[in-house]
C-alpha cells in the first residue's frame, strides 16, 4: 500500500458540545470513500476541517502528506470542495463566477474561460453562460458548484451532498464522472444521504454517528457483519434506529386519534 492521502488521528471538535470524537481515518490514493451518517452526525464538520474551513480542532489531520494546521494553503491549492448548501454569488453569471474562482487559484483566464464554457456545455448549461444565477434552479446551481469545485483539476475531491437537487440524468452523469475521476487516479471523499448511490460507487464506506466512527470497510465487509442486504438497512441498524416500522405505526395512530 502506498502512503495514505488523508489521515486523521483522534480528530475531535467541540463547540458547546462535542460534535466529533476521536475520528481516525486513512484514505488511500484513488479511493472513493462514502462518508455517511444521520443528520448532525459530524460529516460536514469532518469535511470542513480537512478542507481548512474550520481552523481550530483537536487531534491531527494530514492531507496529501501535509499538516492541515501548517500547510493549509498548499492543501487548498490541490483539493476541490463542493459544499452542501448551494452557496454562490448569484448576482453573477456562471462564467463570471468561474472566472473569479479561477483567479483565486491564479489560473490563466483564457484557459478558464474555455474550460468553463465547455464544462457548462456538457452540463447542458451552454445557453446560460451569460445569465445571472439568481433565476437558476437548485439543480443548475449545483452543476455550477460542481464545476467550480473541480475546474482547477484537484487531486482530491471533497463532496458534501453533491447530488441534491439534480435530476436523474444529472445524477447518472455525476456518478459516471466520479467513477472516471477515480480511474485517472483522483481520490474522492464523498458524503451523502442517498444510500444506493453510495453503495454503488464507494470503494469503502465509513459510517459516523454522534461524532463517532461506528463502521469502516467495503460494502461487502460491512454487510458480512450485519447480513442486511442493502446499505439502507445496514445504515439503520448501525445508527441504532431500527424502530422505523413502529414509529410509522404510531404516526398513523396519532393522525387518526380524536
Amino acid at each position: 500500500m502506498s502512503a495514505p492521502v488523508i489521515t486523521t488521528r483522534n480528530l475531535s471538535k467541540t463547540y458547546t458540545e462535542r460534535v466529533l470524537n476521536n475520528i481516525n481515518l486513512d484514505v488511500q490514493p484513488g479511493e472513493i470513500i462514502g462518508y455517511i451518517g444521520p443528520n448532525g452526525a459530524g460529516k460536514s464538520t469532518t469535511i470542513k476541517i480537512l478542507t481548512g474551513i474550520i481552523p481550530d480542532f483537536d487531534g491531527d489531520a494530514t492531507v496529501l502528506g501535509l499538516d492541515v494546521r501548517k500547510d493549509i494553503l498548499e492543501i487548498k491549492r490541490q483539493i476541490g470542495y463542493i459544499p452542501e448548501n448551494a452557496a454562490l454569488y448569484d448576482t453573477l453569471t456562471p462564467l463570471e463566477y468561474l472566472q473569479f474562482i479561477g483567479q483565486l487559484y491564479n489560473l490563466d483566464s483564457t484557459q478558464i474561460e474555455r474550460k468553463a464554457k465547455e464544462l457548462l456545455q456538457l452540463f447542458e448549461l451552454g445557453n446560460y453562460t451569460d445569465s445571472r444565477m439568481t433565476t437558476f434552479s437548485k439543480g443548475m446551481r449545483q452543476k455550477v458548484l460542481l464545476i467550480a469545485g473541480m475546474i482547477h483539476n484537484p487531486a482530491i475531491l471533497f463532496l458534501d451532498e453533491p447530488l441534491s437537487g439534480l435530476d436523474a440524468n444529472a445524477v447518472i452523469l455525476v456518478k459516471e464522472i466520479l467513477a472516471q475521476l477515480k480511474l485517472s487516479g483522483k481520490t474522492i471523499f464523498y458524503s451523502s444521504h442517498i444510500m444506493d448511490v453510495v453503495e454503488k460507487i464507494s470503494d469503502r464506506i465509513m459510517v459516523i454517528n454522534k461524532g463517532e466512527m461506528i463502521a469502516n470497510g467495503t460494502f461487502q465487509e460491512l454487510n458480512a457483519q450485519a447480513h442486511s442486504g442493502s446499505l439502507e438497512k445496514l445504515f439503520t441498524e448501525l445508527t441504532g434506529n431500527t424502530e422505523h416500522q413502529s414509529t410509522a405505526g404510531q404516526f398513523i395512530n396519532i393522525l387518526e386519534s380524536k
Partner: protein, 553 residues
C-alpha cells in the same frame, strides 16, 4: 467605472504586497464584490428591464453629494466656526457609522464567503484585507460625496491651507469611526450570540431610518430658532468624550491660532485615537474578529431559538377576547408573532414609531414662539388630537407592508387549506396589527397626553382609540385586500392606488375633523362612542365576509 476604481487600487499594490497580501487575489475579490454591489443597487433602485449603467459609481457619488448639500449649507450659513464644524463632523461620523452598521453588517458578517472563498487557496490576511478594502472604497465614495459641497464652501470661506487641514480632519473622522464601530461590534460579539447581534443591528437600522427623516425635518428648524449670531462655545469636560468635538476643536485651534490646554488636549485626542485605533484593530481585533466570524455560520446554526412562553400566554388570552376561534384566531396569532420576530418586516414598520415623534416635534415647533412658551401653553391647545391621529401612521404603514414577506412562498397554505372565507384571515391580520403595534404606541402617547393635558383628555383618548380602529377598518376595506405575507417584496404593483389614496385621506380627515368639532362640547364624545362602535361592528362584519373574489392576489 469599476475599472477606474480598480486602477486607483492598482496604484497601491506595492503597499498591499508590503504587508503580505496576495494582490492578484485581493483585486479579484474586490472586483467581484464591487460588481455585485453594483448589480444589487440596480435591483434595488431601478425598474426592471433597464440596462445597467456603466456609471453607477458616479451616480451614487452624485446622490451623496446632494445629501451633502444640506450640511454644506450649514457650514456656509452658521456664523459660529466651532458650531458649524461640530455639526459637520457629527454628520459625517454618524453617516459613516450608520452606513457601516446597516449596509456593511451584512458584508462583515457574510458567511457565504466562508463556503465560497475559504476553501480556496486564499490566506486569511488577504481575505480580510479584501473585505476591508471593499469597505474603505465604499466609505471613501460616501464621504467624498457627502463632503464635496462642504469642501468647496470651506475653500471659499477659509482658504486653501485650511481646506487641507479640513480634508485631513475628514480622514481622521473616517478612521476614528471605523475603529469605534469595529470595537463596538467586537464587544457585542463577545457577549452575545449571532442572533442577538443581528437583532441589535436591526434596531440600529430602524434608528437610522428615523434619524435620517428626523435630522432633515428637525435640525434646520432648530437652527432657525437658535440665536446663532451670539452663540459662544466653551469647552466643557464632557466634550472630551465626543469625537466630532475633537476634530472641530483641533481645526479651531489651527484656524484661530489658539493653542491653550483644552485645544491641545482635543488635538492630541483627534490625532492619537485614530492612529492607536488602526494599530489596535490590526493587531488585536482583526484576528479575534476573523476567528469569531469563521465560527459564525457553523456553530450557531444548530442552536435553536426558544421563545418565551409567558409572553405568548398573554397574547392567547387577548386573542380569545377579540377573535373567533378557528381561522381568524389562527391568522391573528401567526401575524402577531411574526410582527415581533421577522427582522425585514420590523425594519419596514417600526420606523413609523419614530416618525410619530419626529412629526410631533415638527408640528410643535412650527409656530415661531420660543419653546418655553410653546410648552407652557400646550395644555390650552388641541395639540393632543394631533398626537392621537399621528399614531395612525403605524397602522397605515403596517397595513401597507403586511402583504409582503420574504417567505411569501409559505402562503400556499391559504390555497391548499379548505378556506371558505378568506376574510377571516384579513380580519385576524388587522387585529394583530392593531394589538401588537398600535396599542403599545398608543399607550405611550396616552401617558404623554394625560401627563400634559390631564385627565380631561381621557375622553379624547378613548374616542381616538376607536376612531383609529375605525380608520384602519376603512382603509383596509377600501384598499386592495391582500392576504398577509403572501407577496414577494420586489413585485409591488402600485397601479390604481392614487384614487384610493385620495379617498382614504378624505375619510381620515373627515373623522379627525369630526373629533375636533365634537371635542368642543363636553360629554358629546362619550355620547358618540356607541355610534362609533356600531360603525366598527358593521364594517368589521363586512370585512370579515371578504370572499375570494374580492381579494387581490
Amino acid at each position: 467605472m469599476e475599472n477606474f476604481v480598480l486602477k486607483i487600487l492598482d496604484m497601491f499594490q506595492g503597499l498591499f504586497r508590503l504587508i503580505g497580501v496576495n494582490y492578484k487575489q485581493l483585486r479579484a475579490i474586490v472586483a467581484i464584490k464591487l460588481m455585485m454591489d453594483n448589480r444589487r443597487q440596480i435591483i434595488a433602485y431601478q425598474s426592471k428591464g433597464k440596462k445597467e449603467p456603466g456609471t453607477a459609481f458616479l451616480t451614487t457619488l452624485l446622490i451623496y453629494s446632494l445629501f451633502g448639500l444640506f450640511i454644506a449649507f450649514v457650514l456656509y450659513a452658521l456664523p459660529s466656526f466651532i458650531l458649524s464644524m461640530i455639526m459637520f463632523f457629527s454628520y459625517i461620523m454618524v453617516m459613516i457609522a450608520m452606513t457601516l452598521i446597516t449596509d456593511f453588517s451584512s458584508i462583515l458578517l457574510d458567511t457565504s464567503d466562508n463556503t465560497i472563498i475559504l476553501p480556496r487557496p486564499v490566506d486569511s490576511r488577504t481575505l480580510f484585507a479584501a473585505r476591508l478594502t471593499h469597505i474603505m472604497l465604499y466609505l471613501g465614495q460616501l464621504t467624498l460625496g457627502l463632503s464635496l459641497a462642504s469642501i468647496i464652501v470651506v475653500v471659499f470661506k477659509y482658504g486653501l491651507f485650511f481646506t487641507l487641514c479640513f480634508s485631513l480632519g475628514i480622514l481622521l473622522a473616517i478612521a476614528t469611526t471605523i475603529f469605534l464601530t469595529n470595537g463596538m461590534y467586537l464587544v457585542i460579539m463577545q457577549f452575545s450570540s449571532e442572533e442577538k447581534l443581528k437583532n441589535i443591528i436591526n434596531y440600529f437600522q430602524i434608528a437610522m431610518a428615523v434619524l435620517v427623516v428626523g435630522g432633515y425635518q428637525i435640525v434646520p428648524r432648530m437652527i432657525s430658532r437658535l440665536d446663532v449670531a451670539n452663540y459662544t462655545f466653551e469647552i466643557q469636560w464632557w466634550h472630551y468624550g465626543l469625537p466630532p468635538v475633537w476634530i472641530a476643536g483641533s481645526l479651531e485651534a489651527i484656524q484661530e491660532n489658539t493653542f491653550d490646554l483644552p485645544h491641545i488636549t482635543l488635538l492630541t485626542l483627534a490625532l492619537v485615537i485614530p492612529v492607536l485605533g488602526v494599530y489596535l484593530v490590526n493587531q488585536y481585533l482583526t484576528p479575534v474578529f476573523n476567528k469569531k466570524l469563521g465560527s459564525l455560520g457553523s456553530s450557531t446554526e444548530k442552536r435553536e431559538i426558544r421563545t418565551k412562553s409567558e409572553k405568548s400566554r398573554v397574547m392567547v388570552s387577548i386573542s380569545k377576547w377579540i377573535t373567533t376561534a378557528g381561522i381568524e384566531r389562527g391568522a391573528f396569532e401567526v401575524v402577531y408573532k411574526i410582527l415581533g420576530r421577522d427582522r425585514k418586516i420590523k425594519l419596514k414598520i417600526y420606523p413609523a414609531f419614530g416618525y410619530i415623534f419626529v412629526f410631533g416635534i415638527v408640528f410643535l415647533i412650527q409656530n415661531k414662539q420660543d419653546l418655553v412658551t410653546t410648552f407652557r401653553e400646550l395644555p390650552t391647545t388641541h395639540y393632543h388630537l394631533m398626537l392621537i391621529y399621528l399614531t395612525f401612521m403605524i397602522l397605515q404603514v403596517a397595513l401597507h407592508e403586511i402583504p409582503y414577506s420574504d417567505d411569501y412562498k409559505a402562503s400556499w397554505i391559504y390555497f391548499s387549506a379548505p378556506l371558505n372565507r378568506p376574510g377571516e384571515i384579513l380580519s385576524g391580520t388587522i387585529k394583530a396589527i392593531f394589538i401588537r403595534l398600535f396599542i403599545p404606541g398608543y399607550i405611550l402617547i396616552s401617558a404623554i397626553v394625560l401627563l400634559i393635558w390631564g385627565v380631561s383628555a381621557a375622553d379624547d383618548l378613548l374616542f381616538g382609540l376607536f376612531n383609529n380602529f375605525l380608520m384602519l377598518l376603512i382603509i383596509a376595506a377600501i384598499g386592495k385586500r391582500q392576504l398577509p405575507l403572501s407577496l414577494a417584496a420586489n413585485i409591488r404593483n402600485q397601479s390604481g392606488n392614487i384614487a384610493r389614496g385620495i379617498l382614504m385621506v378624505i375619510l381620515i380627515g373627515t373623522l379627525g375633523l369630526l373629533h375636533y368639532l365634537l371635542a368642543r362640547i363636553d360629554f358629546i364624545l362619550i355620547g358618540a362612542i356607541p355610534i362609533q362602535l356600531i360603525a366598527i361592528f358593521l364594517l368589521h362584519a363586512h370585512y370579515k365576509k371578504t370572499t375570494w373574489h374580492q381579494l387581490t392576489l
